[in-house]
């Protein structure tokens, strides 16, 4: 339980923010950043700990968003049920996709390719199918209330997304500490060696994929509930696939706080770009692409890697030995 202390501290500090900050612009920024952090944590569980780089996490985000929106808008189903169904649908898609790809032994390039293609095909289907509202998209009717999961105040949304992020942080923390986590990291480092030692690699990857999909789908469900609108470009677009992988890569792949840290950086960069050059189409993605290349080039372990290195330097200066657990975690 001691391992959860940093998570509890971070969540406590973050939950106090709406009590101090009343600006809707700032809160909106944080809500979106936390939503991206959630999607990124989903990617991180499969990509960061498991080494399976997905280029199409939009598939899960979009499934969550559409299921939540369609169930409410078309079938009048309760928002909470819709939200839960969205997460379940994302997890189910993850299970199907994982079963197909891992059973066929697809790794590396192939895995990235299949996930990318899957997201793209879902986007095409969503842009023509009747049930998704085709090109028009799906609009959730404005109806404020706890039952409909719609709120006037940004703070309410902030606490909801923070709670979801909290769950994802604890999940990552528990994975890191569990036998399952050790298997997952073993598969990332050397799948054949892990198999030789008796790890059921396919099962481990499949489990990670389902968790990963469920978490990213939750971010999609939240998107639908927060913006009350979904269309095919938003739900299954490149922007979310890129941000889901960019946030952990910037923050530090395979670390608990990497995605959260990365999301704040990514959203800040996006906002800075808007301030400098106006809201031109494509500009934020140009910056994200450039940051992606620069980070893997100059800081392959991300910000958390940099922090760990800095801490070790300080410890060496002060004569203390670096703690062995830090070595193991990042080695």
């Amino acid at each position: 339980m001691k391992a959860l202390v940093p998570t509890v501290i971070v969540l406590t500090v973050l939950s106090a923010v709406p009590l101090l900050v009343h600006s809707n612009v700032t809160l909106n920024f944080l809500v979106v950043a936390l939503m991206i952090a959630l999607a990124g944590q989903g990617w991180n569980i499969l990509g960061g700990y498991g080494g399976q780089y997905s280029f199409g996490h939009a598939a899960f985000f979009g499934t969550g968003a559409y299921v939540t929106a369609i169930l409410q808008a078309r079938y009048g189903i309760n928002a909470w049920v819709g939200f839960a169904a969205g997460i379940a649908a994302g997890a189910a898609l993850g299970a199907v996709l994982g079963a197909i790809t891992f059973r066929s032994g697809l790794r590396g390039s192939y895995f990235a390719l299949v996930t990318l293609a899957f997201a793209e095909v879902l986007r095409i289907i969503a842009s023509v199918a009747v049930i998704t509202g085709a090109g028009v998209g799906t609009l959730i009717k404005l109806d404020l209330g706890v039952r409909t999961l719609q709120f006037q105040s940004r703070a309410a949304y902030y606490w909801i997304i923070l709670a979801l992020v909290g769950v994802s942080l604890v999940t990552a923390q528990l994975i890191e500490r569990s036998r399952f986590g050790v298997w997952l990291i073993a598969v990332r480092e050397n799948e054949d060696a892990a198999k030789a030692l008796g790890v059921d690699a396919n099962n481990v990857k499949l489990t990670a994929m389902i968790m990963s999909a469920a978490i990213t789908a939750a971010a999609g469900c939240f998107y639908a509930q927060y913006f009350l609108f979904v269309d095919s470009g938003i739900a299954f677009g490149t922007w979310i696939s890129i941000q889901a992988l960019l946030t952990p890569i910037i923050g530090g792949v395979g670390t608990v706080f990497g995605p959260l840290l990365g999301a704040l950086v990514v959203k800040s960069l996006g906002e800075a770009a808007k301030l400098l050059a106006g809201d031109a189409p494509g500009l934020d993605l140009i910056i994200y692409g450039a940051v992606l290349v620069l980070v893997i080039w100059f800081a392959p372990r991300g910000l958390m890697g940099g922090l760990t290195r800095a801490r070790k330097l300080v410890m060496r200066r002060t004569g203390q030995a670096a703690s062995p657990t830090a070595e193991v975690r990042h080695g």
């Binding site: 390039s109 494509g282 140009i286 893997i296």
Partner: protein
């Protein structure tokens, strides 16, 4: 619905468009065969090449079929530089990082095009755009026939380079055994970049052959790249004949499924083939290695 008068033109047109797919897929499979990674920037480079050919026509009055001789060397140099000075150094020799680098470059190129030219769709007007050749029962569009011939010419040239030149031998040596090639004195970083350059030049040629009968917008490459990926998987990653035959098959399949299911769902037909191939035979029809 199934009368030969409809089916035969659909099949022939499928073969013609398949040849253009083959060019795009050739570049992709060449890069995969040597670097062992999928170049996710391929589609974005195709969009960029289409824009380049478009502006060569608009600003310089250069016919796309002549622009080939200008754009192929330029894109070869661009591809070479991308691999040598960005993707190579950025990825530190790690395959996952190489994938991410090509993805990052794809996102940059595609959105830079979107930023500069907006999402508008552009076309060019050339005199031969709507001319047709009458072959008995069927009319074939001239630009597509030219594309078909051009694609095969490029495939032959590529095959000659790979088979008979020292550069080709070096590329094949690196593809087979990187360490051995390095020990024999081959500059692997240079060969990687050469291969990337050749793959990118293929894309530029495809763009020039495509432009007279197609349109340009910043995400136009995406449509081709999913198809090209499918072809490469179908033909076997890294296999050149596989890419050619796979491309013709896919061209026909798309043409027929477009006929029966409608334009936008034609792509879904391709994706189903993609999934089935991956499930049943991930090494492809001609590939030895999964």
């Amino acid at each position: 619905m199934l009368s030969p008068a409809i089916l035969i033109p659909a099949i022939l047109n499928g073969l013609l468009i398949g040849a253009i797919y083959a060019l795009v897929a050739l570049g992709l499979t060449l890069i995969y065969g040597v670097l062992h990674i999928i170049n996710f920037a391929h589609g974005a480079l195709l969009s960029a090449a289409l824009f380049a050919a478009f502006f060569a026509f608009r600003l310089l009055g250069l016919d796309p079929y002549l622009a080939v001789f200008l754009l192929a060397p330029i894109f070869f140099a661009l591809g070479y530089a991308l691999q040598r000075f960005i993707i190579g150094p950025a990825s530190h020799g790690d395959d996952r990082n190489m994938l991410l680098a090509t993805l990052g470059i794809a996102v940059i190129i595609e959105n830079a095009l979107l930023y500069a030219f907006r999402a508008d769709t552009r076309t060019i007007d050339v005199a031969y755009a709507f001319q047709t050749i009458d072959i008995g029962s069927t009319f074939l569009a001239v630009p597509r026939v030219v594309g078909f011939v051009g694609a095969f010419a490029v495939a032959i040239v590529l095959w000659l380079i790979m088979t008979f030149t020292d550069t080709g031998r070096a590329i094949r040596a690196v593809a087979k055994e990187k360490l051995g090639a390095e020990l024999a004195g081959i500059d692997v970083a240079h060969v990687y970049a050469l291969t990337f350059g050749l793959g990118t030049a293929c894309v530029a040629i495809a763009a020039c052959l495509l432009l007279p009968s197609y349109y340009v917008n910043p995400s136009v490459g995406d449509a081709f790249v999913l198809v090209a990926f499918t072809i490469v998987v179908l033909g076997g990653m890294g296999s050149v004949p596989g890419a050619l035959i796979g491309a013709l098959l896919i061209g026909v399949a798309e043409s027929l499924s477009g006929l029966f299911l409608g334009e936008s769902l034609g792509q879904i037909g391709i994706f189903l083939i993609f999934i089935v191939v991956l499930l049943v035979r991930p090494s492809g029809l001609f590939g030895a290695r999964a």
